[in-house]
Structures are given as C-alpha cells and as structure tokens.
C-alpha cells in the first residue's frame, strides 16, 4: 500500500480502476498479540494507530464485531467543536479540535475537515445568557467564542431568515468559528488504513465475548472466532459498552439510549454553516449540508433506554418540525434516510477513559451522543494510557472512580439522568 498523492491519482487514473488497492487487508486473527483493541469504531481505530505510530507497539489487533464503519462512527452527524463549559471538557475537546486540523495530512487521507463555524442559536433570553456564560468560560480557557446578536446571526448564516415569524424567535447565538464538520466515514477508513500500514491487524466480524484470565491476570479475549491471547486489552465499543461490561462483570454508571439522525435528498449549496437550534424548554435540531448536498440533521435522544437501534417515529416528527421551523425552505425536500445509533450514556454525560481494577484491562467509553468530535484526542490519550499504564493529565478527570468520589463532570447540570444529558 503506497502513500496517496496527486501524482498517484494521475497514475492510477491512467492504469484504470483495478489498480487501487484495498485500504486494509482482510485477515483472520493470529494466536497472540501485545494489545487487542475491542471495537473498530473511530476510537478503537485511532487508538490502534497511535499505539503503533507513537508508542512502538507493533503486534496490535482491532477486533470488530461487524464491519468497519457500521457503528456510530458512520452514523453521526459529523459535527466537531470544543465549545464546552467545564475546564476538563474544554481542554480535552480543544486538543481534539487541534488534531482534526492536521489529521488529514497525518493520515495521508482526505477527511474533509471543514471548519465552517458552529452556531448555537438561542431562542430565549435565558438561553442567550447561558450562551454568554459558556462563551466567557471558553474565552478564559483560550478557546474562540463569539456571542452574536440577532443581526449578527443573520449576517453569519445567510440561509437563515432571522426576522421570520417563528414559534421560537432567534434571540442571538454563540459562535465557534473553528468548529465545523469532518467526513465521518473517511475518519474510520483513514485511521484503519494508516493503522494497517503500520502493521496493525484489522479483523472484522470478530465479536469479543469475554476476557481470558490466567491466575487472575488478563491473558486474552474470548471471541466468536476463538481465543486470542493478549497482554493488554483495550475496550472501545461505544454503544456496546453496557453489554460488554455486563459480560465482563464490570458495573458501569451508564445506560444505552438511542439517537437518531436523517438526511434529505441532495440539493445545491444552501447552507454553509452548522446550525444548532435549541428550544426554550428542551428539544433541538442541529443541521449542516454535506458535500453531496443532503441536509444532515439530528436532535435529542429518543428519551428512554433502548438497545434496539430502531428509532421512535415520534422523535423523527419532532426533529423534522424543528428543522422546518428553522429553515422553512427545507419543507420542499424529501427525507432520504433516517437511522438510529446506540449511545453509551453515562450518568454525568461525560466519558470514561480508565484502567480497570489495576489490571491490563482498559476502558474507553461513555461517549454519549458526542464522541465523534473527540476521536483524535481520545485515540492518542487511550493509546498512551494502554502503553504506559497511567492516564495523562488530559484525561485524568474521566476516571471511573469519579462517580464514587463525587467529582462528576455534569456539563449540562442535569443530574444522574442520562436521558436528560
């Protein structure tokens, strides 16, 4: 597998379509690895890549139950931002946002990073005050944030008629210009290819059923394709976290909830920003236009726990109503597809990245509905944790023991109710 380049593109164009190589080799698992990463989503693949690239671990395998890209890495609405309120989250997501900027070059793969600006629209004075508070907190942390009044919102987001009569008029908003979108599939494919080029084995259709312990220590994993020996095991299964933790006998403070998204038929460019429209009493829609032209949008969680990966039609209706209230011109468009993803919702809405029980077992999960944007930071930090056995400063706050010690990271202040995070 060679590196991609403009010259290579020209050469392959002349040689014809057969010349392109698969991004990674399909293979069966070997008997033993230094590190096994469970879950071939964005986080698992990024972790494997960094283990090989920056921490010198070469015998690394990623075990994926289904196929690369079938999980939430291929189901999300592709929004990346670092506009958080709590310092621990700010630093972490800011690290991720910085990494997104250069990731395409690093992976030698076009991830279509598009910092088109993420604008939270306030529909009440309270919300605008909350935006101002969050914006000020961000600026204190050295992160860009701009509070916009209604006129400035209209200038920034041309697609939006700010003066239009709406049930919930726009009062202003909080803008993070460096936020935007990244093509989600390209992130999965780019990390998988880059990891495979460094010798990482990417093994699809291999479900992890449990861990193997010898004399009480981790010695490998039990899988649908047999036992695989491993010195260290890293779990990054996102929506599958609750189920896998149950199999391993680990109690985790999380519930599985569904989040849905949809995409309209493709149209000519009409929206060049990411808009998030929040209702005064809860409820929201976020929307951006993909490079193919479809409007990609999502809203709140379905509202109650589920592991079915089948969304509730009620939520599709609510979100469509919010979207057409924000952008009435969308009423003419047909809905092309809508889908759901299972989310690992923690009791405080923040992730868990930790070593479990002093063992060679590591957990990366609890990404809730917002883990895509975290991928590059999480991958590096999780690789560092697995390689060194110790968490770096950046992720120390995401330890599991915070729930027992009371050091929660409840960004939205909703309390221990995952459905309201």
């Amino acid at each position: 597998m060679g590196a991609y380049s403009a010259f290579g593109l020209l050469r392959e164009a002349i040689r014809g379509p057969r010349a392109w190589q698969p991004l990674w080799e399909r293979r069966a698992p070997e008997a033993a690895y230094d590190v096994v990463i469970v879950g071939g989503g964005g986080h698992g693949l990024a972790t494997a890549y960094h283990l090989a690239r920056h921490f010198g671990l070469r015998r690394v395998a990623v075990l994926e139950r289904t196929l690369i890209g079938y999980g939430n890495v291929g189901r999300n609405t592709t929004i990346v931002r670092s506009n958080y309120l709590l310092p621990e989250n700010q630093h972490f997501y800011e690290d991720a946002l910085r990494r997104w900027r250069s990731l395409g070059r690093e992976l030698n793969y076009n991830i279509m990073f598009s910092p088109r600006g993420v604008l939270d629209l306030a529909t009440s004075d309270d919300q605008l005050a909350a935006c101002a508070r969050r914006g000020n907190a961000m600026r204190l942390a050295g992160i860009d944030a701009e509070l916009l009044d209604r006129a400035a919102v209209g200038r920034f987001a041309r697609a939006l008629d700010c003066g239009a009569v709406r049930q919930f008029p726009i009062h202003g908003g909080l803008l993070q210009r460096r936020g935007g979108t990244v093509r989600h599939d390209a992130v999965a494919w780019g990390y998988a290819r880059a990891a495979a080029r460094l010798g990482v084995h990417i093994i699809e259709q291999c479900e992890v059923l449990g861990v193997v312990r010898v004399a009480g220590r981790i010695a490998g994993v039990e899988t649908s394709r047999g036992t695989i020996a491993a010195e260290r095991v890293g779990i990054a299964v996102a929506g599958g976290t609750a189920e896998l933790a149950r199999r391993l006998g680990i109690a985790l403070p999380l519930e599985t909830h569904l989040l849905q998204a949809g995409v309209t038929e493709p149209v000519k460019p009409m929206l060049d920003r990411v808009l998030i429209y929040m209702f005064p009493h809860g409820g929201e829609v976020y929307v951006s236009q993909s490079d193919r032209g479809g409007l990609v949008f999502g809203g709140m969680l379905d509202g109650y726990p589920s592991m079915t990966q089948r969304g509730e039609i009620t939520r599709v209706r609510d979100v469509a109503a919010a979207l057409t209230s924000l952008l009435p011109q969308v009423k003419q468009l047909r809905l092309l597809r809508h889908w759901a993803g299972m989310n690992d919702m923690t009791m405080d809405g923040s992730p868990i990245i930790d070593r479990i029980g002093g063992d060679e077992l590591y957990l990366n999960g609890g990404w809730c509905y917002g883990g895509f944007k975290a991928t590059p930071a999480s991958g590096y930090a999780f690789a560092e944790l697995i390689a060194r056995g110790r968490a770096s400063e950046l992720i120390r706050a995401f330890r599991l023991s915070r729930f027992a010690s009371g050091h929660l990271l409840d960004e939205s202040g909703a309390g221990p109710f995952p459905s309201r995070q």
Binding site: L252, P253, T256, Y304, P305, S306, M307, E312, T314, S419
Partner: protein, 84 residues
C-alpha cells in the same frame, strides 16, 4: 412502541413521558445514584401518561427487543432523585 396503561389501555408511546430508570440495587448512595441498573438489558422505569390520564406508571422493559414486560400503576409521583 406501545404502552399498555392500566387505566386507558394500549396507547402510543408519544402519549407518555419517560422520567428515569429506577434503582434496583445499591448499598451506597453512589451505587444507588449511578450504578442503579442490575442488568443493562432490562430496566425498571418511571413513566407518566402525560397526554392521557396523567397517572404514574412503573414499566419493566426488555431493552433488546424494546418490549414492555410489565406495567403497573404507582400511587404517587416518585420523589426527586432516582425514585428512592
């Protein structure tokens, strides 16, 4: 999803509002608050028939099929917190 209200019969989920999952175990406060599910595949939940009779319900659900296993009415709205 359909929920069978003991008072109104089978109705669409849109008529109901989910409140929270209920503690099924826990010796310490932290366990009751944050580690309250005994099995992530099943949950005991509080709902209210807000767009119907407004009664409080306790649902036992199988999360893998999405099916309601058992519905019972509870006399008073549960106290804030996780229902303890």
């Amino acid at each position: 999803m359909l929920i069978s209200c003991p008072f109104c019969g089978e109705r669409e989920v849109a008529e109901f509002e989910f409140r929270c999952t209920l503690e099924e175990r826990g010796a310490t406060a932290a366990e009751r608050l944050y580690f309250r599910l005994a099995d992530p595949r099943r949950s005991l939940e509080h709902w209210q028939h807000v767009r119907g009779c407004r009664m409080w319900l306790e649902l036992h659900r199988d999360l893998r099929t999405g099916r309601v296993l058992r519905t019972a009415s509870v006399p008073v709205p549960p106290a804030d917190g996780t229902g303890s």
